[in-house]
Symmetry: C2
Subunit: 327 residues, 2 copies
């Protein structure tokens, strides 16, 4: 397709206006009708070739899925229900039309799963593929779950298995095409991460987390985010972290461990949240189909520490993903 | 600054949470409190180095300004009041911190002018500078002005002077540093275009345009957008188009004319709108400080034609900005 108008026609047919979309794709802006009396939750996330995905290794459908998943996961972390998405996509002029179509297939697959409508976007030419997805969601007034509400004595939980996406990316980078089940599972999470929207809403309903964040940068960084925003510290028990089990030969080849991946790789989009200790017994081991693990507690003193099996403590600095770190 | 957290601290200090921002920069998402009973108007616009601006020629403050201006102009074209912005910015790791600060100064200058709050965003590393700005605005329920409402017999108007930004860009590309007043004015519009928000609201109040669009791609393309969306055609009188007057020596050097720039260059962010003929006399020559010019009328047959001084008609195809055209 050689005209922007052709792409807009394609997208308009592919994504008919959904609920609450008064004017969808094709005007200067979208017109949305929000529910009355709720707060809006809005987020925007860049996904960039070479930084967040590898053009040669990631299928375009996975890239579209992931571009939207990042923003949906932010909505989950706020306890909000995502409703509308805007997708801005820039790509080199020589990109095959099918690549772009597959990208939007990926967006559409995930959007349909959670009842999110593509309301608009923008297309442009760039030297590399850059996607920027905005999601607008809704949450009951004043009920968004922030990073800043963790209190000393709260217990810290995480959902799912941490480090899977990091393992998947390491295998892609290392061109490892193992058929080991853990590698398959890791690639699935790296390609099609599941935003924990149902879990987040169940948590908000059942235990009202005091603070919540999605693990996009790695447990070490995202836990530090909660502690900084809440003005508290944390003690995390290494043995309690549900880190991916990486078979030794693979770990040696990749020069990493499941714990390192869990702490610092990110992109799992699991939830990290805190709840008052008295509510802990209300929390089942599995909620909305996802296993929940207590990994430690919030402390008054502001240090974030990891406690090993022998009871030794060490600082747990934010060593996860940071686009601006010079490593 | 070598950590994302430093940038977020900088932005949080620089852009304190404004009206309706319940949770601003720094959490997983922003939480906004919209006015009850209004529609939301949302838009996203990419601004890309080499495509929309030249790193060597455009000051970073102008790039920040322009990145926001594009989305504010979309709000104007809908007759909406912009309230919040999210700014996603990707830049090469070697970009000086001052460049980024100046970019956000430009965003802030324009945001303050129109009472828009920076509510959030994202930062990332890329090979070239890519900005994507989302704006969320509000408009009275069902009152957004669409592209699709033009009716046969309506008169077509444009605001301001067309082709100035195109002249400015041509001068930058040609490294022309003339001190002619028109070049100065052209560079000012290219660097700091004025979204016509006040004009749009006055128009909606005084004459209720049947259709409206901002001229971002050039009059030829944007008029065709209105005609396609409305299922109508248009007759435009060449002599009535308020095209920039380009002195002959400059026009020869740039191999263009004021008319060509007005029709096909875009980026002026003036408004193109239609009103029923009976309302035309209500429309002053100047509104909200901007001159308004009648340039033609909407026709039943779907052709878009330009009528020259001798009365000859020719088709006016969309020859304005299209990122995917292979020229």
């Amino acid at each position: 397709m050689t005209r922007e108008a052709d792409w807009i026609d394609f997208l308009r047919r592919r994504f008919p206006a959904g609920a609450g979309v008064h004017v969808g794709i094709g005007d200067d802006a979208a017109v949305l009708r929000a529910s009355g009396g709720r707060d809006l939750v809005v987020t925007t996330d860049l996904l960039i070739e070479g930084q967040h995905f590898l053009r040669r290794a990631h299928p375009p459908r996975a890239i579209g899925w992931k571009a939207l998943a990042r923003s949906l996961s932010d909505c989950a972390a706020m306890g909000a229900r995502p409703r509308w998405a805007l997708v801005a996509l820039a790509f080199p002029a020589a990109t095959p039309a099918n690549w772009v179509k597959e990208f939007f297939e990926g967006v559409g697959l995930l959007a349909r799963r959670f009842g999110v409508s593509l309301a608009g976007g923008d297309l442009a030419v760039a030297n590399q593929i850059v996607a920027d997805v905005q999601v607008i969601g809704e949450v009951s007034r004043g009920r968004a779950v922030l990073r800043s509400g963790a209190r000393p004595g709260d217990l810290i939980f995480v959902s799912g298995t941490l480090g899977l996406a990091g393992l998947g990316l390491a295998c892609l980078r290392g061109k490892i095409t193992s058929v080991e089940p853990v590698v398959k599972r890791a690639l699935l999470v790296e390609f099609f991460p599941q935003p924990r929207l149902k879990l987040a809403r169940a948590l908000r309903r059942d235990v009202a987390p005091t603070a919540m964040i999605d693990i996009s940068d790695g447990l070490s960084t995202d836990l530090n985010h909660i502690c900084e925003a809440s003005g508290v510290g944390a003690r995390v028990f290494q043995a309690s972290i549900p880190a991916v089990a990486v078979p030794s030969p693979l770990a040696r080849r990749l020069r990493t461990t499941g714990l390192q991946l869990a702490l610092n790789a990110g992109e799992d989009y699991e939830l990290l949240f805190t709840i008052p200790k008295v509510k802990a017994k209300r929390l089942p081991r599995r909620l909305a189909g996802v296993v929940l693990a207590p990994i430690g507690e919030i402390t008054r003193d502001r240090r974030v520490v990891l406690v090993d099996a022998a009871g030794r403590e060490r600082r747990l600095p934010p060593r996860g993903w940071d686009p601006f770190r010079r490593s």
